[in-house]
């Protein structure tokens, strides 16, 4: 074998080793959670790297907990409502910011960007007061309302970028035909924006599904909790004896839908995450 060929083979081998390490690093923790969740509680304290005989008792136990099912329901309602609200508010805003030139546009964009950088805890006490004044404490509405603080800036920004990229002739023709701005937006521009709406909707959904600090602070009872809080509060007999099998089963259950979504919509998510970010 020539030296050149040897060098090439070694390089190739090294490359695939790196890819292997990378995949192991990225996927192993989730894989290990699945392995743990499929063990009966007796076998939990023996480390093993694969499932020998899957045991679904942890899943059965989790799914029999009314409060956990309730938490999944709450999370779904909250996340879907947040997505709907954020998309509605940001589509109209993005139309104004992306299609019309007016004084104050730059200021509005800067303000939106500024809000996206807020530390959540900085609004915690003020928001707590607002929520209590509106009578929303310990309801899903408290979360739906408060989650707009981190979804809205993001959806507005991304949709404005996408909206700005649509050709101008479109709405000129619509305006010539005497269409109102609302009709132009909903009939002409919106149909072209579907891919962007799906992307931003997905990202908003994931953000709302995963949120913890507000959910922990603005809800109090088991019936109103969302999934992250429910999982964080699962406890065993003593603080040092967490029911790990149960915990991992619950973790896998709430994560699998997200992982599937991410794998299916990978391209869209990537385009949404990087939209506008690097084009400046």
């Amino acid at each position: 074998m020539s030296l050149r060929l040897l060098k090439k083979t070694l390089l190739r081998l090294g490359f695939w080793c790196l890819i292997g390490v990378l995949l192991l690093y990225a996927v192993f923790p989730f894989y290990y959670a699945i392995v743990t969740s499929l063990k009966p509680s007796g076998a939990l304290f023996q480390v093993s790297y694969w499932v020998e005989s899957p045991d679904f008792s942890n899943y059965a136990a989790v799914l029999h907990q009314a409060s956990f099912l309730r938490a999944i329901g709450n999370s779904l309602v909250v996340a879907l409502c947040v997505v709907t609200l954020a998309l509605f508010l940001s589509v109209t805003a993005a139309y104004a910011l992306g299609r019309v030139k007016f004084r104050g546009r730059g200021t509005v964009l800067m303000m939106v960007l500024g809000v996206s950088m807020f530390p959540q805890v900085a609004v915690l006490s003020g928001l707590f007061e607002v929520i209590r004044a509106l009578g929303l404490y310990n309801t899903s509405w408290a979360l739906i309302l408060s989650y707009t603080i981190f979804t809205l800036p993001f959806t507005v920004w991304v949709l404005t970028t996408f909206m700005g990229q649509l050709p101008h002739e479109l709405e000129e023709a619509a305006i010539m035909d005497g269409a109102s701005p609302w009709v132009t937006l909903t009939r002409v521009l919106l149909p072209l924006l579907w891919p962007a709406l799906i992307t931003t909707g997905l990202l908003a959904f994931i953000a709302a599904w995963n949120e913890f600090l507000f959910a922990l602070t603005f809800t109090l009872t088991d019936t109103q909790r969302t999934v992250p809080v429910a999982i964080a509060l699962i406890s065993g007999g003593s603080p040092h004896e967490l029911p790990w099998g149960l915990l991992m089963a619950a973790s896998v259950l709430v994560t699998v839908p997200l992982v599937i979504l991410v794998l299916i919509f990978q391209r869209r998510i990537v385009s949404g995450l990087t939209a506008g970010a690097l084009k400046g």
């Binding site: 530390p119 991304v158 990537v270 506008g276």
Partner: protein
Amino acid sequence: MPVSTTHAPREQLLLTRETPVQRRQVRTAWLFLTPMLLCLALVAVWPLLRTFWFSLTDANLADTSEGSFVGLSNYLFHNGSNWSGILVDPQWWNAVRNTLHFTVVSVGLEVVLGLLVALLLNIKFTGRALVRALILIPWAIPTIVSAKIWSWMLNDQFGIINHLMLSVGLIDAPLAWTADADLSMWAVIIVDVWKTVPFVTLLMLAALQMLPSDCYDAARVDGIHPLKVFWRVTLPLLMPALLVAAIFRILDSLRVFDVIYVLTSNSSSTMSMSVYARQHLVEFQDVGYGSAASTLLFLVVAVIAMLYLYLGRRQMEVRS
């Protein structure tokens, strides 16, 4: 999580007189903006102003309207013989130190690892799309869940990490990752790095794909060493994207809460500024003092954010 830049779609100068059509358009624009602006005013601007106000009162969580004005005494107060207030609270300064330690180490690691992974995945190979999708998994897992998974893996008695390290001979006795004061910050950093490297990688990959290929063709023709090409061409061209990613991560890390709260709860060796502020606000019900901590955190983040906006502006000016 928001990803954006100071780059807004280009503004054109309106030197011509406005026509009625334009005036109507501008009116519509504001009408369309109103719902979004009202919503942000309700959930962001007003609560923030209230937080500032609370920090000057002795309000209590049970009834926030009861508080009376106490000036700056939540921040600093001299009662004749000694100082009190947040600015002389060793716990607060401990939280500041922890947050800075966490931010510097984790963002540093994330940027370096993110860049390396992006360079690796920028090479064309079969199955690249699948690998790119799979490395997104840590990013999609809720922070709470990843903190729980890792705290199981890092469990001192039954955790797989200790098991592996023991069997390889790296350590002689199991490590108490989340309980040991010297190790717990590392545990937090490990989890955070694992979760956010994919995000940095994505931004870097997008930036790599926008690099002009002619530089590389020229470099190859001239037979320049790839490492030299990286240091002299790739890295300088990637710098703006790298800075954007780093600043996003810095802003995120400064307000870190979830991962620390779940992994080590209120342990003082990992307590961040957000955890400190929430502890005073909710657990001690001391809205005045907690709001003062929140306000200080807000100021730190605001200074960094403004620095970022300023740099972004300047960059845009240089380019145009």
